[in-house]
Symmetry: C2
Subunit: 294 residues, 2 copies
């Protein structure tokens, strides 16, 4: 799409910089600020007429970000920008991908419609697809989905001698097996039952044969960390080595990171799709490759 200028939503400067470095495209100056009454002010300080641009805005805690983000896209178009790509390394509203109960909002569809209306393309990393097979079922703009599995595998190969890859639930099987295959490591997938937002129970496999291995629990998102903590504690009970917790997206709701850190954990490793102290794997190059492609 040959994007020629990048913009950073507030707090996205770090990811924007790594993309810019790989893309060899400048970061444009823009103002995002709030009036004292909580209304947002957005201004582009660059000559953008006729350009294709992209803005980096990871969509964790999405609600307060939406108005400034849509205003940015609209302003850019008013200024003559021909194509605006949204780079949302973490994509929001993938959870409510059907009406589970009568009267519920079909949020994945509604959110996708809003984004599709204001942007011309979307780049994201491992969206939490479940009932939707692809983003194209809800997004009407071109979407580019990157997969972090090869980068997770590369990190493990470099940092862990004898890894045992563990998936916290059956949903994770597909890409836990992919990570394991890439580094010829054994893997196990736990069975998880979810009771509401916060309560989860796991059933535990026979891992005693792997006591000399370093267990690496891999998930796409760590949000409340309830699942991850249950798994880590079960591994501790089984007298396994300290665990590496690995996820693509460091959502970490509330004090989840602190609680997880206090368990039988050797390290918590995430990608930089959401800026967080646990970030260790950089998606900048992969995103830049999409932006510089035709």
């Amino acid at each position: 799409m040959t994007v020629s200028m990048l913009f950073a939503y507030p707090d996205q400067e770090s990811m924007t910089q790594t993309i810019s470095d790989h893309l060899h495209a400048p970061i444009g100056q823009a103002v995002f600020r709030s009036f004292p009454d909580g209304e947002s002010y957005v201004r582009l300080l660059e000559e953008v007429k006729g350009k294709k641009i992209a803005i980096v805005c990871s969509l964790n805690q999405p609600d307060p970000k939406l108005i400034p983000l849509l205003f940015f896209a609209k302003t850019a178009k008013d200024l003559g920008v021909t194509h605006v790509t949204l780079i949302a390394p973490y994509l929001a509203y993938m959870r409510q991908d059907t009406r589970f109960h009568p009267g519920e909002s079909f949020s994945s569809k509604y959110f996708a419609a809003l984004i599709s209306q204001y942007f011309d393309a979307l780049i994201t990393v491992d969206p939490h697809l479940h009932r939707h097979k692809t983003l194209d079922e809800v997004y009407s703009i071109p979407t580019y989905v990157l997969h972090a599995a090869p980068l997770l595998a590369a990190w493990i190969r470099e940092h862990v001698k004898q890894p045992l890859i563990m998936g916290p639930d059956s949903e994770s099987r597909q890409w836990v097996s992919q990570v394991a295959d890439l580094i010829n490591a054994p893997y196990q997938v736990l069975e998880k039952e979810r009771h509401g937002d916060k309560s989860v129970s796991v059933s535990f496999p026979q891992v005693e044969q792997y006591r000399n291995y370093t267990p690496i629990v891999v998930d796409d998102v760590i949000s409340t960390a309830h699942t991850m903590i249950e798994v880590v504690e079960a591994l501790k009970s089984a007298k396994m080595k300290k665990v590496i917790c690995m996820a693509v997206h460091a959502v970490f709701a509330g004090d989840a990171f602190k609680r997880l850190s206090k368990t039988h954990v050797r390290q918590i490793v995430t990608c930089n799709t959401i800026t967080h102290p646990s970030n260790a794997i950089d998606l900048g190059r992969s995103i830049a490759e999409v932006l510089s492609s035709e």
Copy 2:
């Protein structure tokens, strides 16, 4: 528009109840909640097919409210609602009603386009119109604008013996004079110069002739309260009686209410367009009248 069911956005229960009482229409049950990761969940628990409904959501601190509000409207339509009215007693994004500088977002227009896309009608109270003569310049749906001046005048008539109505700036002249005329009281309008968001200087009229009067400073919005505080302090210096500060919309950014309360103030009086301890004037009946009209 013969609305047959009302809904309350969170924290709007009180205003919704007063409208419901006057309209003799029930308040429908709906769920607005957040998942631990900050995404919003919306559900309507009523049979609404074929109905005309309205939701009450004052748009102070608007950004985090927008997604749940738009999801509500979209869900209602999906459930067969024929007409959704937004009752926003306080309307947001009236400030940026032009591009003051190149590259700025034209927020009043963008926000109006969003609301017009999801709702079928808008009811509001004294929007902060400046460059736009009417809301119709930016809203493409029918808009109903209520004016609080008669209710402010009625409150003053009932509570203050010898009032001097004061407008804090030339923009307020038109409706300060209207309030004063309704109760045959004298009025004065101060001249204000604004320097950025927070700094304001006022020039002071000759008010010594009104030393026996109770000064009532009337404005449409109290936000940072900087203007109001300057006016009150100038009136104190002129040895005027303690001041009644009166506004339609109790925005009160940050600690503005606390700071204003500590000055030479007898009372702070606002309408219930934004729920606040200073609310003393009820717009519920006026809004119900619009809802029950053809």
